[in-house]
């Protein structure tokens, strides 16, 4: 039974990394939101399983917050935003998918090489979760670096935060107040970014970063 518990946590963490890769590959905005929803669902399942394994009831609350906020409210509002912006049918130019994927694999390997020896004395489940969490954070950063559309950058940022939550859940004893404050600040940031996007869109008729650079004169 012990083995099955670890196996299921293993599968969930691996699925989360796989979903981060799918985010890198996806070039349709509506598809991106769907995959982000999946990311959030797997995260809440993973945190809930951690709660069961560690016998820590406050993690159930974390899982519930993740499910409600990240899997329901945020995707819903993002969908509303992009429909009002009119960009919901965009197919983004994701240059060099092959290279991005290879860099992604390299980042996962790097997180493993860095994290696993460093946590040699900890519980195996926690070690694995922390190593994968670092990988998810790096993949979220990679997504933010390789994307041009502001909405995709937001989603990359949110997937990064998901990775942080996974790490915090894996390390035993994360108090709930940290989680609430982190989630709250993300929500505020999200609202502010949403407002800015509308202003930018009003001004420049475009939310593509390359076009914005052109408008500023930074690019011919």
């Amino acid at each position: 039974m012990e083995h099955l518990t670890i196996d299921i946590a293993h599968v969930l963490a691996g699925a989360l990394v796989l979903t981060s890769f799918m985010l890198l590959y996806q070039d349709r905005l509506s598809g991106l939101i769907n995959i982000y929803t999946l990311h959030a669902v797997i995260l809440s399942m993973s945190v809930a399983w951690q709660a069961y394994y560690q016998d820590a009831p406050h993690l159930y609350v974390t899982a519930a917050i993740a499910a409600i906020f990240k899997a329901l409210i945020i995707p819903f509002s993002l969908r509303r935003i992009i429909e009002r912006l009119g960009v919901h049918r965009t197919v983004e130019v994701v240059g060099g998918v092959g290279i991005t994927m290879l860099i992604g694999i390299f980042l996962v390997a790097l997180s493993l090489v860095v994290m696993l020896p460093a946590t040699a004395s900890a519980d195996p489940l926690a070690r694995e979760d922390i190593a994968f969490a670092l990988a998810i954070v790096l993949l979220g950063l990679l997504m933010m670096v390789t994307r041009r559309n502001a909405v995709s950058q937001i989603i990359g940022f949110m997937s990064l935060e998901n990775g942080l939550i996974l790490a915090a859940a894996g390390a035993k004893g994360m108090p709930l107040v940290v989680e609430i404050s982190v989630a709250f600040s993300i929500l505020i940031a999200f609202i502010v970014i949403g407002i800015f996007l509308f202003r930018i869109r009003e001004r420049f008729d475009n939310v593509d970063l390359f076009e914005l650079d052109r408008a500023r004169g930074e690019r011919p």
């Binding site: 060099g96 390997a109 493993l112």
Partner: protein, 665 residues
Amino acid sequence: MPLYLALTCISALLAVGVYAIVDRRNPDISRNVYRLCIALCSILFLAAAMPRGANVLSTTLPFGLPWLGMHFRIDVLSAFFLAVVNLGGAAASAYAIGYGAHEKEPMRVLPFYPAFLAGMNMVVLADDAFSFLVAWEFMSLASWALVLTHHHDAENRRAGFVYLLMASFGGFALLMAFGVLGGIEGAYDFASIRESTKEGWKTGLVLALALVGMGSKAGLAPLHIWLPLAHPAAPSHVSALMSGVMTKVAIYGFIRVVFDLLGPPAFWWSIEPLTFGAASALIGVLFATIQSDLKKLLAYSTIENIGVIFIALGLALAFKANGLALPAALAFTAALFHVFNHSLFKSLLFFGAGAVLGGSGERNIERLGGLIHSMPKTAFLFLGGCVAISALPPLNGFVSEWMVFQAILLSPSLPQWTVKLLVPAVGVALALSAALGAGCYIRAYGVAFLGRPRSDSARTAKDPDRWSIGAMAALLTLCLLAGLLPSLVIDTISPAARDFVGGRMPTQAELSWLSIAPVAESRSSYNGLLVFIFILFSAYSARWVIHKFGSTRSRRAPAWDCGYIETSPTTQYTGSSFAQPIRRTLGVIAFSVKERLDMPAPGDIRAARLNVEIKDRIFDYLYAPLTRAVETCASSLNILSLLTIQEYLALVFAALVFLLVLVAI
């Protein structure tokens, strides 16, 4: 005894070179020289195969530096490489007896060819830094002279220049490496180098220098740019020797320095051979897939196989550094097996390319086609070479690549995380290069030998003479035997592993049915002979069933082609059309590919034009800036030739004062 025999034969080879100059008016000089080379190479091969009383024989000759002499030594590794070198040499000389008749200026080849063979043999036997370097430079210079055989062509002149540059650079790196190894006292003979203690930074420096020096001769990326220029420029039998044998001599040098002279390895030594080997494998095969010149294609394919050998050597280093003797022995034996295999099939392929060149006058596959009808024997032998080099069972290329994969599968036992994760990544690169290699040779064979002839020279081509065919057939037979009876080859090679990595593979001859099981029988095993028999049995039983129950009639008709009647052979697939999918998907990463289509508007009757521009990134980012930097430095130093007398005196005075200050400090 074998050592003295070998040294005598080497001197005899040098004498043959001199004889070629002396007797140059003789109309039969070409055949005589090559016959003598065959004889001497065969004797050297026997000397290598002879059982030695003691395992290691050495001797010192009173030539060379007065306080050093020239040391020569033959041990298991030298014997193996001596055998490989002379097998290739004998085959090339046999081929050249027929091919040499095509040569318009034989005197540009004949004196240097035996010297080249002598130089390669001497490198393998050298036991001190001086004789090693002398033999190495001698080998480079002789092959340089051979590259410049057809010097009327500007391409060949450029090839010679680049080759000379890279060879000097490599030789300089080796000089520094041996200098560091010899130390301040100058103890250059290998025996004392083995004894000396080496600090950590010294070993890193020597490893890097050895990698540069040997790697540039072997064709390791990014020092490979001279290979596709120089190897095709030489006559075909010399190209075969350069690709198939000289690169192996460079590998011998690397093994000697890194596995023997440098002492016990550290695990990070393996990172460089692994990464550069993987890079060479991928770069070599990707460039090979887009070449239209048959010989350039084969040269790039050599780069790929050298990459594979370095991958195996890197694996052996990683395992040896961690004290894992059995996996290290497996990787080392796999590397040596691939050395043997590659010398066989690369020579075979270059002989085939030479036969095509001699028979049709063309090297460009886009002007060939249908050679399987006009040159049937060459086509069959070349096909065998293609199957062997694409690592397909049941021939020998598959066995060595299989062994490298088995070594890669043992990587979880490595404790360090960097190598533990690097090795599977290298495994992917290896698998990708093997698959791309098969695609490359499908293209080369399909466009050049199959289909319909694209030019008159292809239609009127003829098979070469029986010496050439005989040499190729002998090599193909050896490929088949090595593929069907790999246990014999492994058992001959594995004693070398014991001296160099501390362990050896279990004796394969004890296993039933002549199969090989590198680690343990339950873990993995392969039986080439059984697979071959199975294939023949299945094919023949299918044929029997069909002839008994089905129809055996057949008739000839024009090609169906969906009902289109095609008359012109230009409508069939060309080499660049075949490579287009690979170029589009993988080419963007490896080389910057730009395709420009110039399509005339409807009504305009001029031809459409497709421009494909391919740039070698390594050349642009590494060599071009270096060349520019050297040129800038040189032109800024040009003012030194325009100084007045007083300024010259001032320079001399300043130099003198500087040296005195150095002495004072």
